[in-house]
Symmetry: C2
Subunit: 445 residues, 2 copies
Amino acid sequence: MVPRILIIGGVAAGPAAAARLKRLRPDSDVTLFEQGEHISYGTCSMPYFLGGDPERAEDLIHFTPEQFSKEKGCSVRIRHRVERVIPVRQRILVRNLDADEVEELRYDTLLFATGARSREVSHPPAENIFTLRTLSDAKRIHHWMTNSSPQRILIVGGGFVGMELAEAMSRRALDVTVIHRDDLPVNQAEPEIRAIVLDELRRKGVRFVGGATPVRWDVTNSRVGSVETTTGRMETDMVLLATGFVPNSELARDARIRCGSRGGIVVDAKMRTNVEHIYAAGACAEVRHLVSQKHVFHPLAQTANLMGRIAAANMAGESEELDGILGTSAVKIFDLQVASVGLTHRDALNHGIDAASSTVSSRSRGRDDRDSKPLFAKLVYHRRTRRLLGAHLVGEEGAALRVNTMATAVAKQMTVEELARIDMMYTPPFAPLWDPLTIAARQAK
Amino acid sequence: MVPRILIIGGVAAGPAAAARLKRLRPDSDVTLFEQGEHISYGTCSMPYFLGGDPERAEDLIHFTPEQFSKEKGCSVRIRHRVERVIPVRQRILVRNLDADEVEELRYDTLLFATGARSREVSHPPAENIFTLRTLSDAKRIHHWMTNSSPQRILIVGGGFVGMELAEAMSRRALDVTVIHRDDLPVNQAEPEIRAIVLDELRRKGVRFVGGATPVRWDVTNSRVGSVETTTGRMETDMVLLATGFVPNSELARDARIRCGSRGGIVVDAKMRTNVEHIYAAGACAEVRHLVSQKHVFHPLAQTANLMGRIAAANMAGESEELDGILGTSAVKIFDLQVASVGLTHRDALNHGIDAASSTVSSRSRGRDDRDSKPLFAKLVYHRRTRRLLGAHLVGEEGAALRVNTMATAVAKQMTVEELARIDMMYTPPFAPLWDPLTIAARQAK
């Protein structure tokens, strides 16, 4: 009998799982449901699209529903919202949003790949207040900006997405203000790195207002014209809310699927939920962190895709496990590369780990190279075992790729002493004689 | 009693050892002998100086003899050539080249840091045939070119230094020809990478003549005007010989210090030679390769400096060992980054290892990023144990730093399967969703 596999969610983990399932089990019957209009697109590229490069929203789409269906051999149903999952009967109820009809469908195996949504900020209705989560959101913002030619933008939230949006809007020559609840941006980063990011914002002409949250929205003719914040009133032509993400796990919760403390669906290393025949992958699920061994909510694209791949293998009857993730990430903030892997010093202390750290302010190239740039690195390690727990870098070049080296070191539970002895490359145009990671590791001694 | 430490050679390993010795044992009496005029300079930057950036030879000098002496607390004697080592009496004979006087000096501990010299190519005397090994060589070439304004240059040898020189001379708008004994340049590299380097040379207007060696030199008025090669005659205004390096080990050999099959002084993991109280470090010595466990001759700057540091620790009475090197290197060849770590597939087979390899032609950035560049990667691994043995990359961006990730993986004896599972960063401006290393590792499955 042909196994019938249903996948809820078509952005990242969903299509990754669907495509791999059909590769592993060409005989299976796979259907992908997406409530929006687009599937399989690059959410991480949306800020760049808003900044003007790439120019067309279509450039972000990897596969249209038709292409995906044809090339991967799956059924794709966009504008279909799954409204209920009934595990005991192995059924779902799905609404065709255009026809406004509900259908009941049976599954052999079901995958939740419902992703995350923007955290809500309460505000009155206004046509110029936006969040950015889907490609439709991106198109809507782009369209509104093209028609309304705003001069000033207020970005609420100074996290990594807020920073990417600040850069994108600066590229469009807007007057950009970021308000943020804390004094420094990007709360997940190490304090030294947060200070460097703030400097970069200022150097690029972005107004950053720390310790500020919205209190009152002044809306006239369906448009917000100014926002009263905890630190004062700010006039603006549009508002972008970038206050983080929450997992879309309500549908699962309603079906009595176990969710965790971070709000996401709890899965094991094979992406199985606690309910038979039901898997979850991507930002709707919590995932085990390799260092802390705790479940975390890290809505990262490569993690979502990886979870989708692993879910697919297990749904196809093979056996594949996710050891755990390291939250390896790199973000471009104007001229800076801000990169991170594993735990920050504070994360580690919060987990009750006796952590120490070592920092170095080095350079990206050899001493004679005039294009060399400052590069800051911080290593976090266990004080007693000397094992590496995380690494955090910032600089105009050489920060992003160095986190992959550290991901490898952290995954292999290397000590700082072992790291100090790794034979790293040197040539003046690409690295200093002693790599910044080597220096930081030596200084940890 | 104050220990008396003598160090022969002042370019890389020598100063690195001298400085660390004084840090570890401030009471010791350290003297550095250098037969040339300069100590402590960036040999790797010499091609860039010849290319015009940095502009001054002095920019390559880390410490003048006076600065080094003052800041590090060592005696420095330039223009002093050590002519004999008498281990049984713990003495050296050293000639002051300016005064033409020989002095006999006692040592408690002696370090050979005599480096390597350019491999000799027989040719008649001519003022416009050069080799590049010391800063004095670089100044001589620079001075001659400034005075004689050559239009055409012939570079003999298409190894990595030949490539760096070809780029440097192209920057000076010279008409550059490289002749090389093999059909493809950079013999140490993987064949796929050699072909890509050849394409790059051609794209940049460098004439590369493979299968060619010099046969006869036509010298008129002390200048070579053309060279007869195995593939024909080539007219030129100057010649740069870049046919590789050989260790300066004769002085050690004369003192009955054991040398190896590659011509270098044999040292153990503590940089000790087979003769008591005598150490060696840098390009004059052979060093153990971490993967092959064979002694190799790898005249790389970071390796020389590292060996100097380790020798210093042991000479100071501490205990420090070099696990082995990986030959991690990156070279800039015009717009390309050519990077390598560990064994090539052919190296591995030559060592009798049952090696396999996996290649990927990927990109440096996310699919939507218009500045993304091609990136080629090859992984070499043991067929049975699946352990990584080496990695080799080439591309306009992202190749150099990825070898550090692979150096970490190879040093930790990771398998391709483990590498495939490392959580690597993704963001469109810095990397594709699946890192090229991840893809290559998956394809090895």
